[in-house]
């Protein structure tokens, strides 16, 4: 393990630890998609810290993870770095020339199972991964993280039907229900309501969860029967831009990069939240 990874191992893998990396790297690279990454920071932290069983990124029997909403990959890069799968220093290549860390994930990077970026692909990849596990008599699980607006894609529902028909119990779909998409609020663009009922109607085992409660997320996933029965959908209620007050629920933070002043404020808010968490250990984090 290189020194950067050793240092990383000392940093706990929490949603706010990912948020710090998301803010730092988005600012350094001067790029957007910040709100989307902040939205899933706690989900990604819960998955990498408490759910996914990945002894080695090349282990054929590891759990598979598909970030179908590829535009939030900075949260995953942060988790891979804090876990030591990639060196912390590699984060500084985010969006650089010749980098493997683009705005959307590339499978050639250690720890990335599937390249994504075009919405509507990831659940089909996950269906194949879960079917492969069944054919190979493996107990490994496949987790797919979807955006809510991604449920606009017809191809997603093709995969939903197949997974239910074949009762792919090892498949867990997490829908990041932040209510926003690139140009507006989902209820104004193309209504998804009632989203949980729609998945349930297609034959999935559906749970509504707080997408910012890492412990509850992990506990819910841990309680699922991933060996028999229907596939599982967790509708994770989240706040777009979570953790930075002026980004929360604001459409512009799908694309906007931060100014210097906005960056300072965002970090200050994160510091304050971390300070409050330290002062109140009973918060459960």
């Amino acid at each position: 393990m290189d020194p950067a990874s050793t240092a990383a191992a000392a940093r706990p893998l929490t949603g706010n630890a990912l948020r710090r990396v998301i803010l730092e790297q988005s600012k350094r690279a001067n790029v957007g998609h910040i709100g989307s990454a902040l939205s899933v920071a706690d989900v990604v932290a819960a998955l990498y810290d408490r759910v996914l069983c990945i002894p080695d990124p090349n282990d054929a029997d590891r759990d598979r993870f598909v970030l179908s909403k590829g535009h939030a990959v900075l949260a995953v890069y942060a988790a891979l770095a804090l876990r030591g799968t990639i060196p912390l220093a590699q984060l500084d290549t985010y969006c650089a020339d010749g980098s493997l860390l683009g705005v959307h994930p590339e499978h050639v990077l250690p720890g990335i199972d599937f390249s994504t970026g075009s919405l509507g692909h990831g659940l089909a990849f996950g269906v194949g991964a879960a079917l492969a596990a069944r054919l190979q008599r493996s107990r490994r699980r496949t987790v797919v993280l979807l955006s809510d607006a991604e449920c606009n894609e017809g191809s997603l529902w093709e995969a939903v039907m197949f997974a239910a028909h074949h009762r792919l119990a090892s498949l867990v779909a997490l829908v990041d229900l932040n209510g926003q998409q690139a140009l507006g609020y989902t209820e104004d663009v193309l209504s998804l309501s009632p989203l949980a009922e729609r998945w349930r109607a297609f034959g999935w085992d559906v749970h509504e969860v707080d997408g910012h409660d890492e412990a509850a997320l992990a506990a819910t996933i841990g309680s699922l029967d991933t060996e028999a029965g229907p596939p599982h959908a967790l509708v994770a209620h989240t706040v777009f831009g979570r953790g930075v007050s002026y980004m929360e629920r604001q459409i512009k933070w799908h694309y906007s990069p931060m100014s210097d002043a906005e960056y300072r404020q965002a970090l200050a808010e994160l510091d304050a939240a971390d300070g409050a968490a330290c002062a109140a250990p009973s918060s459960g984090r």
């Binding site: 089909a124 990849f125 269906v127 194949g128 079917l131 995969a159």
Partner: protein
């Protein structure tokens, strides 16, 4: 071609447990030999070609070699982005099987005609594009390519009786096969219309014109050196394909002539017009688009007569 392909696939599956067969709810009276032998390695994915290719990607990532079957236009065009972002991007051994390219589903109408698949698939670097000319070549092509490391698109015909005279089932990756030799004119043919090209060459031979026929089944990787060598010896070449004249073998040969600086004149025989709502049998439609033996021979004579002396 289709039966030979499925029979050969079933034979390969006996020895290779990683071979799976998926279908987009098509293949009645075609896929049964595989389904009956390996019911647990066969999946009807439903009428859902995007999920079929996406799922094939997930299966291939775990070590399987899934064959995803549908009618050519549904197999290649509907899930195009899934082919691009799945097996091509991930460099995984998914096999897309498009049956009935060209006008093989003639009376079914334009929705079922596969006139763009080869051109569209050929835009994807890293994807092998294999279009056998008859059932014997389909079997040998499958044996030669099923275990390529990257993805493959197969364009398979339905006819299991017609044979290309002089081809004898030969197939090599990245090579062209000669069914007739001759240096007055060269016909470069692809797919199940190839027998028409051979018949045209034989008709021209009866008139004293030495006409060669090169069969291109390995469209990608393309037989560039073979084609360049053959094209360098003739004043006129015709490409013969039941496909749009852009993107397919007509375009491939034009690229070879231009990039190698050859002096050969090219006539692309293929589909030049959009669907007009008129349907008919495969043979009738091929004739209507100038792809019968007599029309091809006529086009060759005209091109030879028009060339500067």
């Amino acid at each position: 071609m289709r039966s030979a392909f499925v029979r050969t696939l079933t034979e390969l599956a006996e020895r290779h447990p990683e071979v799976l067969l998926l279908t987009g709810d098509l293949g009645y009276m075609a896929l049964e030999p595989f389904i009956e032998r390996f019911p647990h390695r066969f999946f009807n994915m439903g009428v859902a070609e995007q999920n079929m290719i996406g799922a094939a990607t997930g299966l291939a990532e775990a070590g399987f070699v899934p064959f995803a079957y549908s009618i050519a236009t549904f197999a290649a065009l509907r899930p195009f982005e899934f082919i691009r972002n799945g097996p091509v991007w991930h460099r995984l051994p998914v096999r897309i099987v498009g049956v009935g390219g060209g006008f093989e589903y003639g009376p079914q109408g334009s929705s079922h005609h596969g006139l763009e698949d080869v051109g569209v698939m050929r835009t994807l670097p890293g994807l092998a594009v294999i279009a056998p000319a008859d059932h014997r070549q389909a079997a040998s092509a499958l044996r030669a390519t099923w275990d390529l490391a990257g993805p493959v698109y197969y364009r398979i015909g339905k006819d299991d009786h017609l044979e290309v005279p002089g081809l004898d089932g030969r197939f090599r990756v990245g090579r062209a096969e000669q069914a007739r030799e001759g240096e007055d004119v060269l016909l470069v043919a692809c797919g199940s219309v190839t027998p028409e090209a051979v018949a045209a060459a034989d008709a021209l031979a009866a008139e004293g014109l030495r006409a060669g026929v090169a069969v291109v089944a390995s469209v990608q990787p393309a037989p560039v050196d073979d084609l360049a060598a053959l094209l360098a010896r003739v004043p006129v070449a015709l490409t013969v394909e039941t496909h749009a004249i852009t993107g397919g073998v007509g375009s491939l040969v034009a690229e070879v002539i231009a990039e190698r600086g050859l002096g050969c004149r090219l006539v692309r025989c293929g589909v030049r017009t959009p669907p007009d709502g008129v349907s008919g049998s495969q043979r009738w439609l091929q004739e209507a688009h100038g792809l019968s033996a007599s029309a091809l021979a006529k086009a060759a004579r005209a091109a030879l007569a028009a060339r500067p002396r």
